[in-house]
Protein backbone atom coordinates (compact mmCIF):
# COMPACT_ATOMS: atom_id res chain seq x y z
CA UNK A 1 0.00 0.00 0.00
CA UNK A 2 1.62 3.25 -1.05
CA UNK A 3 2.24 3.23 -4.78
CA UNK A 4 2.45 6.64 -6.38
CA UNK A 5 1.92 7.60 -9.98
CA UNK A 6 2.40 10.99 -11.62
CA UNK A 7 0.88 11.55 -15.07
CA UNK A 8 2.23 14.51 -17.09
CA UNK A 9 2.25 16.77 -14.04
CA UNK A 10 3.07 20.41 -14.73
CA UNK A 11 3.24 23.40 -12.44
CA UNK A 12 3.50 27.09 -13.29
CA UNK A 13 3.93 30.01 -10.94
CA UNK A 14 2.40 32.85 -12.94
CA UNK A 15 4.04 32.61 -16.34
CA UNK A 16 7.12 30.62 -15.27
CA UNK A 17 6.80 26.90 -15.75
CA UNK A 18 8.62 25.18 -12.92
CA UNK A 19 7.58 21.54 -13.49
CA UNK A 20 7.48 20.74 -17.18
CA UNK A 21 5.57 17.51 -17.53
CA UNK A 22 6.69 14.75 -15.15
CA UNK A 23 5.62 11.12 -15.64
CA UNK A 24 6.72 8.83 -12.90
CA UNK A 25 5.78 5.65 -11.07
CA UNK A 26 6.99 4.86 -7.57
CA UNK A 27 6.30 1.29 -6.51
CA UNK A 28 4.99 0.22 -3.16
CA UNK A 29 7.77 -0.05 -0.57
CA UNK A 30 10.35 1.60 -2.76
CA UNK A 31 12.91 4.16 -1.59
CA UNK A 32 12.86 6.73 -4.37
CA UNK A 33 15.22 9.71 -4.38
CA UNK A 34 14.65 12.91 -6.37
CA UNK A 35 18.00 14.46 -7.04
CA UNK A 36 18.96 17.56 -8.97
CA UNK A 37 20.63 20.94 -8.59
CA UNK A 38 19.03 23.62 -6.39
CA UNK A 39 16.04 25.31 -7.99
CA UNK A 40 15.24 22.45 -10.38
CA UNK A 41 11.78 21.94 -8.83
CA UNK A 42 12.33 19.00 -6.47
CA UNK A 43 10.57 20.62 -3.52
CA UNK A 44 7.76 21.85 -5.73
CA UNK A 45 7.20 18.34 -7.05
CA UNK A 46 7.19 16.96 -3.51
CA UNK A 47 4.71 19.62 -2.38
CA UNK A 48 2.46 18.69 -5.31
CA UNK A 49 2.56 15.05 -4.21
CA UNK A 50 1.75 16.13 -0.65
CA UNK A 51 -1.14 18.30 -1.84
CA UNK A 52 0.38 21.51 -0.52
CA UNK A 53 0.51 22.90 -4.07
CA UNK A 54 -2.00 22.25 -6.83
CA UNK A 55 -0.65 20.85 -10.06
CA UNK A 56 -1.37 23.15 -13.00
CA UNK A 57 -2.13 20.09 -15.12
CA UNK A 58 -1.77 16.33 -14.86
CA UNK A 59 -2.86 13.68 -12.38
CA UNK A 60 -1.49 12.42 -9.09
CA UNK A 61 -2.53 8.87 -8.21
CA UNK A 62 -2.04 7.17 -4.86
CA UNK A 63 -2.72 3.43 -4.94
CA UNK A 64 -4.42 3.94 -8.30
CA UNK A 65 -6.84 6.60 -7.03
CA UNK A 66 -6.68 10.14 -8.33
CA UNK A 67 -5.98 12.47 -5.38
CA UNK A 68 -5.61 15.88 -7.06
CA UNK A 69 -8.46 17.34 -5.02
CA UNK A 70 -7.79 15.46 -1.77
CA UNK A 71 -6.57 17.59 1.16
CA UNK A 72 -3.00 16.93 2.39
CA UNK A 73 -4.16 15.46 5.71
CA UNK A 74 -6.40 12.95 3.92
CA UNK A 75 -3.70 11.58 1.62
CA UNK A 76 -2.22 9.33 4.34
CA UNK A 77 1.27 10.65 3.91
CA UNK A 78 3.79 12.28 6.19
CA UNK A 79 6.44 14.83 5.39
CA UNK A 80 9.78 15.71 6.98
CA UNK A 81 11.01 19.21 6.22
CA UNK A 82 14.48 20.65 5.83
CA UNK A 83 13.79 23.19 8.58
CA UNK A 84 12.29 20.50 10.90
CA UNK A 85 9.11 22.60 11.22
CA UNK A 86 8.30 21.43 14.75
CA UNK A 87 5.46 23.21 16.53
CA UNK A 88 7.32 25.57 18.88
CA UNK A 89 4.54 25.68 21.49
CA UNK A 90 4.16 21.90 21.91
CA UNK A 91 6.29 19.34 23.71
CA UNK A 92 8.00 16.59 21.73
CA UNK A 93 5.24 14.20 22.78
CA UNK A 94 2.47 16.54 21.58
CA UNK A 95 4.35 17.35 18.40
CA UNK A 96 4.40 13.68 17.56
CA UNK A 97 0.82 13.02 18.61
CA UNK A 98 -0.85 16.01 16.98
CA UNK A 99 -1.81 14.38 13.69
CA UNK A 100 -3.49 11.43 15.43
CA UNK A 101 -5.24 13.79 17.81
CA UNK A 102 -6.56 15.78 14.83
CA UNK A 103 -7.75 12.54 13.27
CA UNK A 104 -9.79 11.87 16.42
CA UNK A 105 -7.86 8.81 17.65
CA UNK A 106 -8.37 7.76 21.29
CA UNK A 107 -5.75 8.83 23.83
CA UNK A 108 -4.47 5.31 24.43
CA UNK A 109 -3.78 4.76 20.72
CA UNK A 110 -1.91 8.04 20.47
CA UNK A 111 0.10 7.20 23.58
CA UNK A 112 1.06 3.78 22.24
CA UNK A 113 2.01 5.13 18.80
CA UNK A 114 4.17 7.94 20.16
CA UNK A 115 5.92 5.64 22.62
CA UNK A 116 6.68 3.16 19.85
CA UNK A 117 8.09 5.83 17.55
CA UNK A 118 10.07 7.34 20.42
CA UNK A 119 11.61 3.94 21.15
CA UNK A 120 12.58 3.47 17.50
CA UNK A 121 14.43 6.79 17.47
CA UNK A 122 15.59 6.72 21.14
CA UNK A 123 13.68 9.90 21.90
CA UNK A 124 12.47 8.64 25.29
CA UNK A 125 14.25 11.13 27.56
CA UNK A 126 13.28 14.09 25.37
CA UNK A 127 9.52 13.56 25.29
CA UNK A 128 8.58 16.42 27.61
CA UNK A 129 10.93 19.01 26.17
CA UNK A 130 10.01 21.85 23.85
CA UNK A 131 11.66 22.01 20.40
CA UNK A 132 13.66 25.07 21.51
CA UNK A 133 15.41 22.86 24.09
CA UNK A 134 16.70 20.35 21.51
CA UNK A 135 19.80 20.27 19.32
CA UNK A 136 19.52 20.23 15.52
CA UNK A 137 20.00 16.48 15.27
CA UNK A 138 17.43 15.83 18.00
CA UNK A 139 14.93 18.12 16.30
CA UNK A 140 15.31 16.26 13.04
CA UNK A 141 14.79 12.94 14.84
CA UNK A 142 11.61 14.32 16.40
CA UNK A 143 10.46 15.44 12.96
CA UNK A 144 11.07 11.94 11.64
CA UNK A 145 9.28 10.52 14.69
CA UNK A 146 6.31 12.76 14.01
CA UNK A 147 6.13 11.24 10.54
CA UNK A 148 6.42 7.65 11.78
CA UNK A 149 3.63 8.03 14.36
CA UNK A 150 1.06 8.46 11.61
CA UNK A 151 1.99 5.12 9.96
CA UNK A 152 1.55 6.75 6.56
CA UNK A 153 1.44 5.00 3.22
CA UNK A 154 4.01 7.37 1.89
CA UNK A 155 6.88 9.24 3.53
CA UNK A 156 8.11 12.45 1.95
CA UNK A 157 11.50 13.87 2.94
CA UNK A 158 12.59 17.30 1.72
CA UNK A 159 16.35 17.59 2.17
CA UNK A 160 16.09 16.43 5.78
CA UNK A 161 19.83 16.32 6.40
CA UNK A 162 21.05 19.54 4.85
CA UNK A 163 20.92 21.54 8.10
CA UNK A 164 22.96 18.96 10.02
CA UNK A 165 26.73 18.81 10.37
CA UNK A 166 28.67 16.16 8.46
CA UNK A 167 28.96 13.50 11.20
CA UNK A 168 25.30 13.80 12.18
CA UNK A 169 24.31 13.69 8.53
CA UNK A 170 25.92 10.27 8.08
CA UNK A 171 24.36 8.94 11.31
CA UNK A 172 20.87 10.19 10.41
CA UNK A 173 21.24 8.85 6.87
CA UNK A 174 21.91 5.40 8.26
CA UNK A 175 18.95 5.78 10.61
CA UNK A 176 16.64 6.64 7.71
CA UNK A 177 17.89 3.63 5.75
CA UNK A 178 17.21 1.40 8.77
CA UNK A 179 13.71 2.87 9.17
CA UNK A 180 12.96 2.07 5.57
CA UNK A 181 14.00 -1.54 6.09
CA UNK A 182 11.94 -1.81 9.31
CA UNK A 183 8.79 -0.03 8.16
CA UNK A 184 8.80 -1.25 4.54
CA UNK A 185 6.91 1.92 3.63
CA UNK A 186 7.22 3.85 0.39
CA UNK A 187 9.59 6.76 0.79
CA UNK A 188 10.32 9.68 -1.48
CA UNK A 189 13.41 11.58 -0.57
CA UNK A 190 14.56 14.87 -2.07
CA UNK A 191 18.17 15.93 -2.04
CA UNK A 192 20.69 17.88 -4.07
CA UNK A 193 23.48 15.69 -2.68
CA UNK A 194 24.28 12.81 -5.00
CA UNK A 195 26.03 10.87 -2.20
CA UNK A 196 22.77 10.73 -0.21
CA UNK A 197 20.97 9.70 -3.38
CA UNK A 198 23.42 6.91 -4.17
CA UNK A 199 23.54 5.53 -0.63
CA UNK A 200 19.81 5.54 0.14
CA UNK A 201 17.95 4.97 -3.08
CA UNK A 202 16.40 1.91 -4.60
CA UNK A 203 15.71 4.17 -7.53
CA UNK A 204 16.96 7.64 -8.37
CA UNK A 205 15.05 10.22 -10.37
CA UNK A 206 17.41 12.85 -11.77
CA UNK A 207 15.68 16.17 -12.34
CA UNK A 208 16.88 19.20 -14.25
CA UNK A 209 14.91 22.41 -14.73
CA UNK A 210 11.57 20.74 -14.01
CA UNK A 211 12.12 17.73 -16.27
CA UNK A 212 13.06 14.13 -15.51
CA UNK A 213 16.44 13.43 -17.09
CA UNK A 214 16.75 9.78 -16.14
CA UNK A 215 15.26 7.22 -13.77
CA UNK A 216 17.13 4.17 -12.57
CA UNK A 217 18.90 2.36 -9.76
CA UNK A 218 22.08 4.04 -8.46
CA UNK A 219 24.33 1.59 -10.32
CA UNK A 220 22.33 1.93 -13.55
CA UNK A 221 22.86 5.66 -13.44
CA UNK A 222 26.52 5.26 -12.60
CA UNK A 223 27.21 2.67 -15.29
CA UNK A 224 24.75 3.81 -17.89
CA UNK A 225 24.06 7.55 -17.83
CA UNK A 226 21.70 8.72 -20.56
CA UNK A 227 23.32 12.11 -21.10
CA UNK A 228 26.13 14.38 -19.99
CA UNK A 229 23.99 15.97 -17.27
CA UNK A 230 23.31 12.69 -15.49
CA UNK A 231 26.87 11.53 -16.12
CA UNK A 232 28.23 14.69 -14.54
CA UNK A 233 25.77 14.77 -11.65
CA UNK A 234 26.11 11.17 -10.48
CA UNK A 235 29.48 10.14 -9.12
CA UNK A 236 31.96 12.09 -7.07
CA UNK A 237 34.37 13.53 -8.03
CA UNK A 238 32.63 14.56 -11.21
CA UNK A 239 33.16 12.69 -14.48
CA UNK A 240 35.82 14.11 -16.85
CA UNK A 241 34.61 15.19 -20.27
CA UNK A 242 37.17 14.88 -23.06
CA UNK A 243 37.16 15.98 -26.66
CA UNK A 244 36.06 12.79 -28.44
CA UNK A 245 37.59 13.70 -31.80
CA UNK A 246 41.03 14.04 -30.24
CA UNK A 247 40.73 10.46 -28.99
CA UNK A 248 39.95 9.26 -32.51
CA UNK A 249 36.20 8.84 -31.84
CA UNK A 250 33.16 10.39 -33.50
CA UNK A 251 33.00 14.16 -32.77
CA UNK A 252 31.29 15.03 -29.49
CA UNK A 253 32.22 14.46 -25.88
CA UNK A 254 33.77 11.43 -24.26
CA UNK A 255 33.12 10.91 -20.55
CA UNK A 256 35.49 9.06 -18.25
CA UNK A 257 35.18 8.77 -14.49
CA UNK A 258 38.23 9.85 -12.42
CA UNK A 259 38.66 6.28 -11.20
CA UNK A 260 38.97 5.00 -14.77
CA UNK A 261 41.71 7.35 -15.82
CA UNK A 262 45.21 5.91 -15.37
CA UNK A 263 48.15 8.18 -14.62
CA UNK A 264 51.79 7.39 -15.54
CA UNK A 265 55.00 9.39 -15.43
CA UNK A 266 56.48 8.31 -18.78
CA UNK A 267 54.15 7.22 -21.50
CA UNK A 268 50.39 7.37 -22.09
CA UNK A 269 47.70 8.76 -24.33
CA UNK A 270 47.21 12.28 -23.04
CA UNK A 271 50.16 14.44 -22.01
CA UNK A 272 49.30 16.72 -19.06
CA UNK A 273 50.78 18.69 -16.21
CA UNK A 274 49.82 18.22 -12.54
CA UNK A 275 48.12 21.35 -11.23
CA UNK A 276 46.96 20.21 -7.80
CA UNK A 277 47.00 17.12 -5.57
CA UNK A 278 44.52 16.26 -2.80
CA UNK A 279 45.56 13.48 -0.42
CA UNK A 280 42.69 12.01 1.55
CA UNK A 281 44.59 9.08 3.07
CA UNK A 282 42.44 6.35 1.58
CA UNK A 283 42.59 7.92 -1.84
CA UNK A 284 44.49 10.57 -3.74
CA UNK A 285 42.96 12.99 -6.25
CA UNK A 286 45.30 14.38 -8.89
CA UNK A 287 44.16 17.33 -10.96
CA UNK A 288 46.10 17.56 -14.22
CA UNK A 289 45.77 20.07 -17.02
CA UNK A 290 45.98 18.88 -20.60
CA UNK A 291 46.29 21.20 -23.58
CA UNK A 292 43.55 19.40 -25.49
CA UNK A 293 41.01 18.49 -22.80
CA UNK A 294 41.41 21.06 -20.05
CA UNK A 295 41.50 20.16 -16.36
CA UNK A 296 41.08 16.42 -15.67
CA UNK A 297 40.66 14.62 -12.36
CA UNK A 298 42.34 11.30 -11.60
CA UNK A 299 41.33 9.25 -8.61
CA UNK A 300 43.91 6.84 -7.18
CA UNK A 301 43.53 4.34 -4.40
CA UNK A 302 45.91 4.83 -1.47
CA UNK A 303 48.73 7.37 -1.11
CA UNK A 304 50.66 8.69 -4.12
CA UNK A 305 53.20 11.45 -4.51
CA UNK A 306 52.95 13.83 -7.43
CA UNK A 307 54.53 17.25 -7.49
CA UNK A 308 52.72 20.27 -8.83
CA UNK A 309 53.87 21.12 -12.41
CA UNK A 310 55.18 17.60 -12.89
CA UNK A 311 54.57 16.33 -16.45
CA UNK A 312 52.42 13.20 -16.52
CA UNK A 313 50.52 11.06 -19.01
CA UNK A 314 46.86 10.05 -18.63
CA UNK A 315 45.23 7.03 -20.23
CA UNK A 316 41.47 6.46 -20.20
CA UNK A 317 40.15 2.91 -19.87
CA UNK A 318 38.54 2.55 -23.31
CA UNK A 319 35.97 0.03 -22.07
CA UNK A 320 34.71 2.56 -19.49
CA UNK A 321 34.50 5.48 -21.88
CA UNK A 322 31.03 6.99 -22.46
CA UNK A 323 30.43 8.62 -25.83
CA UNK A 324 28.04 11.56 -26.10
CA UNK A 325 26.92 13.42 -29.22
CA UNK A 326 27.05 17.19 -29.63
CA UNK A 327 23.61 17.46 -27.96
CA UNK A 328 25.01 15.74 -24.88
CA UNK A 329 22.97 12.55 -25.48
CA UNK A 330 24.59 9.16 -25.07
CA UNK A 331 25.61 7.37 -28.29
CA UNK A 332 24.44 3.79 -28.41
Amino acid sequence: MGALELKSVTKSFGSTEVIKGVDLTVNDGEFCVFVGPSGCGKSTLLRIIAGLEDATAGDILLDGKRVNEVAPAKRELAMVFQSYALYPHLSVRDNMGLALKQAGQPKATIQAATEKAAAMLSLGPLMDRRPAELSGGQRQRVAIGRAIVRTPKLFLFDEPLSNLDAALRVATRIEIARLHRDLKATMIYVTHDQVEAMTLADRIVVLRAGKVEQVGSPMELYNNPANTFVAGFIGSPQMNFLDAAALGLQPGQAGIRPEHLAITRHQGEIPAEVSHVEKLGGETLVYARSAQHGLLTVRLFGEHDYAVSEPVHLTPDRARLFEFDSEGLRRV
Partner: protein, 274 residues
Amino acid sequence: MSPGRSIAAHAALITWTLIALFPVFVIVINSFKSRKAIFADPLALPWPENFDLIGYQTVMKQGDFFLYFQNSLIVTCASLFFVLLFGAMAAFALSEYRFRGNTLMGLYLALGIMIPIRLGTVAILEIMVASGLVNTLTALILVYTAQGLPLAVFILAEFMKSVSDDLKNAGRIDGLSEYRIFFSLVLPLVRPAMATVAVFTMIPIWNDLWFPLILAPSEEVKTVTLGAQVFIGQFVTNWNAVLAALSLAIVPVLVLYLIFSRQLIRGITAGAVK
Protein backbone atom coordinates in the same frame (compact mmCIF):
# COMPACT_ATOMS: atom_id res chain seq x y z
CA MET B 1 31.49 48.09 23.58
CA SER B 2 34.26 50.19 25.13
CA PRO B 3 33.37 51.98 28.39
CA GLY B 4 33.81 55.39 26.74
CA ARG B 5 31.32 54.62 24.00
CA SER B 6 28.98 53.02 26.49
CA ILE B 7 29.00 56.15 28.65
CA ALA B 8 28.43 58.37 25.62
CA ALA B 9 25.52 56.23 24.45
CA HIS B 10 23.95 56.21 27.89
CA ALA B 11 24.41 59.99 28.22
CA ALA B 12 22.66 60.56 24.90
CA LEU B 13 19.82 58.21 25.76
CA ILE B 14 19.36 59.65 29.24
CA THR B 15 19.30 63.19 27.85
CA TRP B 16 16.69 62.18 25.32
CA THR B 17 14.61 60.44 27.99
CA LEU B 18 14.71 63.54 30.19
CA ILE B 19 13.62 65.78 27.32
CA ALA B 20 10.80 63.42 26.39
CA LEU B 21 9.58 63.00 29.95
CA PHE B 22 9.84 66.67 30.94
CA PRO B 23 6.33 67.76 29.84
CA VAL B 24 4.78 64.73 31.53
CA PHE B 25 6.75 65.51 34.67
CA VAL B 26 5.57 69.14 34.67
CA ILE B 27 1.95 68.05 34.25
CA VAL B 28 2.15 65.55 37.09
CA ILE B 29 3.90 67.81 39.63
CA ASN B 30 1.64 70.74 38.94
CA SER B 31 -1.47 68.61 39.29
CA PHE B 32 -0.61 68.33 43.00
CA LYS B 33 -0.25 72.07 43.54
CA SER B 34 -2.60 74.93 44.29
CA ARG B 35 -3.54 77.27 41.46
CA LYS B 36 -1.39 80.07 42.84
CA ALA B 37 1.59 77.79 43.22
CA ILE B 38 1.26 76.62 39.62
CA PHE B 39 1.57 80.16 38.29
CA ALA B 40 4.09 81.34 40.87
CA ASP B 41 6.66 78.68 40.06
CA PRO B 42 5.60 76.05 37.53
CA LEU B 43 8.79 74.00 37.99
CA ALA B 44 8.69 73.80 41.79
CA LEU B 45 8.03 70.40 43.31
CA PRO B 46 4.85 70.00 45.38
CA TRP B 47 6.09 70.72 48.92
CA PRO B 48 3.79 70.73 51.96
CA GLU B 49 3.32 74.52 51.76
CA ASN B 50 1.96 74.47 48.20
CA PHE B 51 0.59 70.91 48.11
CA ASP B 52 -3.03 70.86 47.14
CA LEU B 53 -5.35 68.12 45.91
CA ILE B 54 -7.97 70.61 44.73
CA GLY B 55 -7.52 69.54 41.13
CA TYR B 56 -8.24 65.89 41.88
CA GLN B 57 -11.16 66.86 44.12
CA THR B 58 -12.68 68.95 41.35
CA VAL B 59 -12.23 66.15 38.85
CA MET B 60 -13.87 63.66 41.18
CA LYS B 61 -16.77 65.94 42.01
CA GLN B 62 -17.49 67.54 38.70
CA GLY B 63 -18.63 65.35 35.89
CA ASP B 64 -18.52 61.61 36.05
CA PHE B 65 -14.88 60.96 35.54
CA PHE B 66 -15.04 57.31 36.39
CA LEU B 67 -17.56 56.87 33.57
CA TYR B 68 -15.31 58.79 31.15
CA PHE B 69 -12.46 56.50 32.03
CA GLN B 70 -14.58 53.48 31.49
CA ASN B 71 -15.71 54.82 28.10
CA SER B 72 -12.15 55.51 27.00
CA LEU B 73 -11.04 52.07 28.09
CA ILE B 74 -13.92 50.33 26.33
CA VAL B 75 -13.31 52.26 23.12
CA THR B 76 -9.56 51.75 23.18
CA CYS B 77 -9.62 48.06 24.09
CA ALA B 78 -12.43 47.16 21.70
CA SER B 79 -10.84 49.06 18.80
CA LEU B 80 -7.47 47.50 19.60
CA PHE B 81 -9.01 44.04 19.65
CA PHE B 82 -10.70 44.49 16.29
CA VAL B 83 -7.66 46.14 14.69
CA LEU B 84 -5.40 43.28 15.79
CA LEU B 85 -7.88 40.54 14.91
CA PHE B 86 -8.94 41.82 11.49
CA GLY B 87 -5.53 43.25 10.71
CA ALA B 88 -3.82 39.94 11.45
CA MET B 89 -6.39 37.97 9.49
CA ALA B 90 -6.12 40.23 6.44
CA ALA B 91 -2.33 40.16 6.71
CA PHE B 92 -2.37 36.35 6.84
CA ALA B 93 -4.57 36.12 3.76
CA LEU B 94 -2.39 38.58 1.85
CA SER B 95 0.87 36.92 2.78
CA GLU B 96 -0.22 33.29 2.62
CA TYR B 97 -2.66 32.85 -0.24
CA ARG B 98 -2.01 33.43 -3.91
CA PHE B 99 -5.09 34.90 -5.56
CA ARG B 100 -5.85 37.28 -8.37
CA GLY B 101 -5.43 40.89 -7.29
CA ASN B 102 -3.43 40.01 -4.18
CA THR B 103 -0.88 42.83 -4.63
CA LEU B 104 -3.58 45.31 -5.60
CA MET B 105 -5.62 44.41 -2.52
CA GLY B 106 -2.54 44.85 -0.33
CA LEU B 107 -1.90 48.30 -1.77
CA TYR B 108 -5.55 49.24 -1.38
CA LEU B 109 -5.55 48.21 2.27
CA ALA B 110 -2.33 50.13 2.90
CA LEU B 111 -3.65 53.30 1.25
CA GLY B 112 -5.21 54.38 4.54
CA ILE B 113 -1.73 54.92 5.99
CA MET B 114 -1.27 57.93 3.73
CA ILE B 115 -4.82 59.32 3.77
CA PRO B 116 -5.91 60.72 7.15
CA ILE B 117 -9.30 59.39 8.15
CA ARG B 118 -10.31 62.87 9.36
CA LEU B 119 -10.71 63.94 5.72
CA GLY B 120 -13.80 61.77 5.71
CA THR B 121 -15.29 63.25 8.87
CA VAL B 122 -18.35 64.74 7.19
CA ALA B 123 -19.20 61.53 5.37
CA ILE B 124 -18.57 59.50 8.52
CA LEU B 125 -20.88 61.76 10.50
CA GLU B 126 -23.58 61.39 7.82
CA ILE B 127 -23.25 57.61 7.91
CA MET B 128 -23.43 57.55 11.70
CA VAL B 129 -26.49 59.81 11.72
CA ALA B 130 -28.17 57.66 9.08
CA SER B 131 -27.48 54.47 10.99
CA GLY B 132 -28.44 55.96 14.33
CA LEU B 133 -25.02 55.43 15.88
CA VAL B 134 -24.37 59.03 16.91
CA ASN B 135 -23.58 59.30 20.61
CA THR B 136 -22.69 55.64 20.96
CA LEU B 137 -19.35 54.04 21.74
CA THR B 138 -19.93 51.74 18.75
CA ALA B 139 -19.48 54.73 16.42
CA LEU B 140 -16.07 55.46 17.91
CA ILE B 141 -15.01 51.82 17.89
CA LEU B 142 -15.93 51.48 14.21
CA VAL B 143 -14.04 54.61 13.22
CA TYR B 144 -10.95 53.75 15.23
CA THR B 145 -10.91 50.20 13.87
CA ALA B 146 -10.94 51.64 10.36
CA GLN B 147 -8.25 54.12 11.33
CA GLY B 148 -5.93 51.49 12.79
CA LEU B 149 -6.32 48.73 10.18
CA PRO B 150 -4.11 50.01 7.33
CA LEU B 151 -0.91 50.21 9.37
CA ALA B 152 -1.72 46.96 11.15
CA VAL B 153 -2.24 45.07 7.86
CA PHE B 154 0.89 46.57 6.36
CA ILE B 155 3.21 45.74 9.28
CA LEU B 156 1.73 42.32 10.07
CA ALA B 157 1.74 41.17 6.43
CA GLU B 158 5.48 41.83 6.25
CA PHE B 159 6.08 39.88 9.45
CA MET B 160 3.86 36.99 8.43
CA LYS B 161 5.80 36.56 5.21
CA SER B 162 8.77 35.66 7.37
CA VAL B 163 6.96 32.82 9.19
CA SER B 164 8.30 29.51 7.91
CA ASP B 165 6.22 27.93 5.13
CA ASP B 166 7.36 24.51 6.30
CA LEU B 167 5.73 25.05 9.69
CA LYS B 168 2.38 25.95 8.14
CA ASN B 169 2.67 23.05 5.72
CA ALA B 170 3.48 20.64 8.53
CA GLY B 171 0.27 21.81 10.19
CA ARG B 172 -1.71 21.23 7.00
CA ILE B 173 -0.35 17.70 6.63
CA ASP B 174 -1.22 16.99 10.26
CA GLY B 175 -4.78 18.07 9.55
CA LEU B 176 -4.92 21.47 11.26
CA SER B 177 -7.53 23.83 9.85
CA GLU B 178 -6.41 27.16 8.40
CA TYR B 179 -7.87 28.83 11.51
CA ARG B 180 -5.79 26.64 13.84
CA ILE B 181 -2.71 27.31 11.73
CA PHE B 182 -3.40 31.04 11.96
CA PHE B 183 -4.23 31.19 15.66
CA SER B 184 -1.92 28.60 17.16
CA LEU B 185 1.09 28.58 14.82
CA VAL B 186 1.37 31.96 13.12
CA LEU B 187 0.02 34.43 15.69
CA PRO B 188 2.36 33.39 18.51
CA LEU B 189 5.33 33.81 16.19
CA VAL B 190 4.38 37.36 15.18
CA ARG B 191 3.64 38.44 18.75
CA PRO B 192 6.38 41.11 18.83
CA ALA B 193 4.88 42.66 15.70
CA MET B 194 1.41 42.48 17.25
CA ALA B 195 2.68 44.30 20.34
CA THR B 196 4.28 47.00 18.19
CA VAL B 197 1.07 47.46 16.24
CA ALA B 198 -0.93 47.53 19.49
CA VAL B 199 1.18 50.36 20.91
CA PHE B 200 1.03 52.39 17.72
CA THR B 201 -2.72 51.90 17.46
CA MET B 202 -3.61 52.44 21.08
CA ILE B 203 -2.03 55.81 21.80
CA PRO B 204 -3.73 57.91 19.08
CA ILE B 205 -7.08 56.35 19.99
CA TRP B 206 -6.72 57.11 23.67
CA ASN B 207 -5.59 60.66 22.99
CA ASP B 208 -8.13 61.48 20.29
CA LEU B 209 -10.38 64.47 20.84
CA TRP B 210 -11.72 64.92 17.31
CA PHE B 211 -14.06 61.99 16.86
CA PRO B 212 -15.46 61.93 20.44
CA LEU B 213 -16.27 65.61 20.02
CA ILE B 214 -18.04 65.06 16.71
CA LEU B 215 -19.55 61.61 17.02
CA ALA B 216 -20.13 61.09 20.74
CA PRO B 217 -20.27 64.35 22.71
CA SER B 218 -23.13 63.46 25.03
CA GLU B 219 -22.49 63.02 28.74
CA GLU B 220 -22.85 59.24 29.04
CA VAL B 221 -20.44 58.38 26.21
CA LYS B 222 -17.75 61.01 26.81
CA THR B 223 -14.13 59.85 26.76
CA VAL B 224 -11.48 61.16 29.15
CA THR B 225 -9.91 63.60 26.71
CA LEU B 226 -13.31 65.06 25.94
CA GLY B 227 -14.26 65.04 29.62
CA ALA B 228 -11.16 67.05 30.50
CA GLN B 229 -12.26 69.77 28.09
CA VAL B 230 -15.02 70.93 30.44
CA PHE B 231 -12.33 72.53 32.55
CA ILE B 232 -10.95 74.52 29.65
CA GLY B 233 -13.18 77.52 29.30
CA GLN B 234 -13.09 80.33 26.80
CA PHE B 235 -12.20 82.85 29.50
CA VAL B 236 -11.13 80.87 32.54
CA THR B 237 -9.37 77.55 32.56
CA ASN B 238 -9.35 75.41 35.67
CA TRP B 239 -5.71 74.38 35.40
CA ASN B 240 -5.74 72.28 38.56
CA ALA B 241 -8.53 70.15 37.22
CA VAL B 242 -7.12 69.92 33.68
CA LEU B 243 -3.72 68.81 34.97
CA ALA B 244 -5.26 66.33 37.38
CA ALA B 245 -7.45 64.86 34.65
CA LEU B 246 -4.49 64.54 32.31
CA SER B 247 -2.34 62.92 35.02
CA LEU B 248 -5.06 60.40 35.67
CA ALA B 249 -5.45 59.76 31.96
CA ILE B 250 -1.82 58.70 31.71
CA VAL B 251 -2.28 55.78 34.10
CA PRO B 252 -4.40 53.31 32.09
CA VAL B 253 -2.46 53.84 28.87
CA LEU B 254 0.76 53.32 30.81
CA VAL B 255 -0.53 50.02 32.15
CA LEU B 256 -1.52 48.86 28.66
CA TYR B 257 1.86 49.91 27.34
CA LEU B 258 3.65 47.93 30.03
CA ILE B 259 1.65 44.82 29.14
CA PHE B 260 2.47 45.11 25.45
CA SER B 261 6.10 46.02 25.91
CA ARG B 262 6.60 42.92 28.05
CA GLN B 263 5.14 40.86 25.18
CA LEU B 264 7.47 42.67 22.86
CA ILE B 265 10.54 41.82 24.89
CA ARG B 266 9.41 38.24 25.45
CA GLY B 267 8.89 37.83 21.72
CA ILE B 268 12.35 39.15 20.95
CA THR B 269 14.11 36.88 23.45
CA ALA B 270 12.08 33.84 22.36
CA GLY B 271 13.30 34.48 18.81
CA ALA B 272 16.89 34.65 20.01
CA VAL B 273 16.74 31.21 21.58
CA LYS B 274 15.30 29.52 18.51
